[in-house]
């Protein structure tokens, strides 16, 4: 009887572990998709994106030292 309940406990723990592992993966994928969608919305659909060097600072940006190197805006009308 003891052996049976021990085996049962092990199986339960293992099943919980596998469940947690399988649950974990789709969450990461979903977050990535959501993030990509947010970025796509920010840049406009089909826009390959652009970047800008703004301000004065120490970030290297195409030969200039700028405060920040940013993206997310489009110059298209």
């Amino acid at each position: 009887m003891k052996k049976k309940s021990l085996k049962g406990s092990i199986v339960l723990v293992c099943l919980t572990g596998v469940y947690l592992y399988l649950q974990d993966k789709p969450t990461i994928q979903l977050n990535e998709i959501v993030l990509q969608n947010i970025e796509a919305l920010a840049q406009g659909e089909g826009d390959p994106g652009n970047f800008y060097c703004t301000g004065t600072g120490d970030i290297d940006c195409i030969g200039y030292k700028v405060y920040e190197k940013i993206t997310g805006f489009s110059l298209k009308p």
């Binding site: 723990v13 293992c14 919980t16 572990g17 994106g49 970047f51 920040e68």
Partner: protein, 349 residues
């Protein structure tokens, strides 16, 4: 049944270990064993600086580098009394002028080396304190294969220059500017498959080397990663801090910062590694701008590591600082500062 159990056990083990084993390849630190607060003292200089960025001290001379000057990038002073001696590195597009200042290494009065990344030239200058003059002694054009060099150190044998293409971590470059050896890889855990220029830009580092112990250190401008290379034993230590690896997104082949700004400068002494750390995210900086405030520029912390990159002590500074020089005899830090009236502040360790 036994077969099924084995598979399930492997599953559960994989679930628990996958983060620590498969994703996190490098060691981490979360806190420092000791923390201290330090108060700075300003040193007033007679020169106006627009962006005091780097400082180099050798014996009784000090050189300050202005990243965005009106006229000259480099200013020489007597040390420790800070009397102006000379200026050099005139900003401009002329043949003997400097397009950008990306680093300074001060070895002796006839061996002051500066890096101009836009021209891809390392220049050696000689200083004559008596004549109060600095003259250009030698231009070393860097090989085009290096693409863009943003920091350097001159050893007796070669230059150590971080890589800009993503194909390796740093180069050994001959004293005439030719790449002679490519070493290591960017220690990324998230972008192992895309080792390109965007990754190298995001992993832009500030470096230092100490010939006495053969320790070469790279710290990331974004994120919080410190890499220690012992060039004698060829041992390498990579340590991630809580800020993790540099976060970025790739747009038109460029690495665009998205996470935190990390280290500002680093120095390797005989016993320890000192690095200035910021830690503020770009999102947090935007909040300052929305409120009409100027975001902090420079790092609020000085981190001390041992020569294997293990954290020893964290100093919280009452000002944000950029470049540092450790005076080990006085146990003192001399640092450049944008937010005080003086370009230089000091504090005791």
């Amino acid at each position: 049944m036994r077969y099924l159990l084995s598979i399930l056990c492997i599953g559960i083990c994989f679930s628990f270990l996958k983060n620590s084993f498969f994703n996190e390849r490098y060691n981490r630190y979360k806190t420092f064993p000791e923390e201290r607060k330090v108060t700075t003292q300003e040193i007033s200089l007679q020169t106006d600086f627009r962006y005091p960025y780097r400082i180099a001290i050798k014996e009784n001379m000090a050189i300050l580098m202005d990243l965005h000057p009106n006229e000259y990038f480099y200013h020489v002073y007597s040390y420790p009394d800070w009397q102006p001696i000379a200026t050099f590195g005139k900003r401009g597009e002329g043949p003997k002028e400097v397009l950008s200042a990306d680093g300074i290494r001060f070895y002796s009065s006839d061996s002051i080396y500066t890096l101009d990344a836009n021209r891809m030239i390392i220049t050696r200058w000689t200083l004559s304190p008596e004549a109060k003059a600095v003259s250009r002694a030698e231009d070393i054009p860097l090989n085009k294969s290096l693409i863009r060099s943003l920091d350097f150190y001159r050893t007796d044998k070669n230059f150590l220059i971080p890589n800009y293409s993503g194909e390796c971590r740093y180069h050994k470059v001959s004293h005439d500017g030719q790449s002679i050896q490519n070493i290591g890889k960017i220690p990324t855990e998230e972008h192992k498959e895309n080792r390109d220029v965007a990754l190298a830009q995001a992993w832009r580092t500030f470096t230092d080397y100490n010939p006495k112990n053969d320790i070469y250190v790279l710290v990331t401008q974004l994120g919080e990663v410190i890499e220690v290379h012992n060039l004698k034993t060829e041992k390498q230590f990579v340590i991630y801090g809580p800020g993790g690896e540099p976060a970025f997104k790739k747009v038109l082949g460029e690495g665009i910062p998205t996470g935190i700004k990390g280290f500002m400068d680093v120095q390797v002494t005989d016993q320890a590694i000192y690095a200035i750390f910021d830690g503020l995210s770009w999102e947090e900086r935007k909040k300052y701008q929305v409120q009409g405030k100027r975001p902090p520029e420079g790092g609020h912390f000085l981190y001390q590591f041992d020569l294997a990159g293990n954290p020893i002590r964290k100093y919280t500074i009452d000002k944000n600082i950029y470049g540092l020089e450790i005076d080990e005899k006085k146990n003192q830090v001399i640092a450049t500062c944008l937010e005080s009236d003086s370009p230089i502040v000091t504090f005791q360790l």
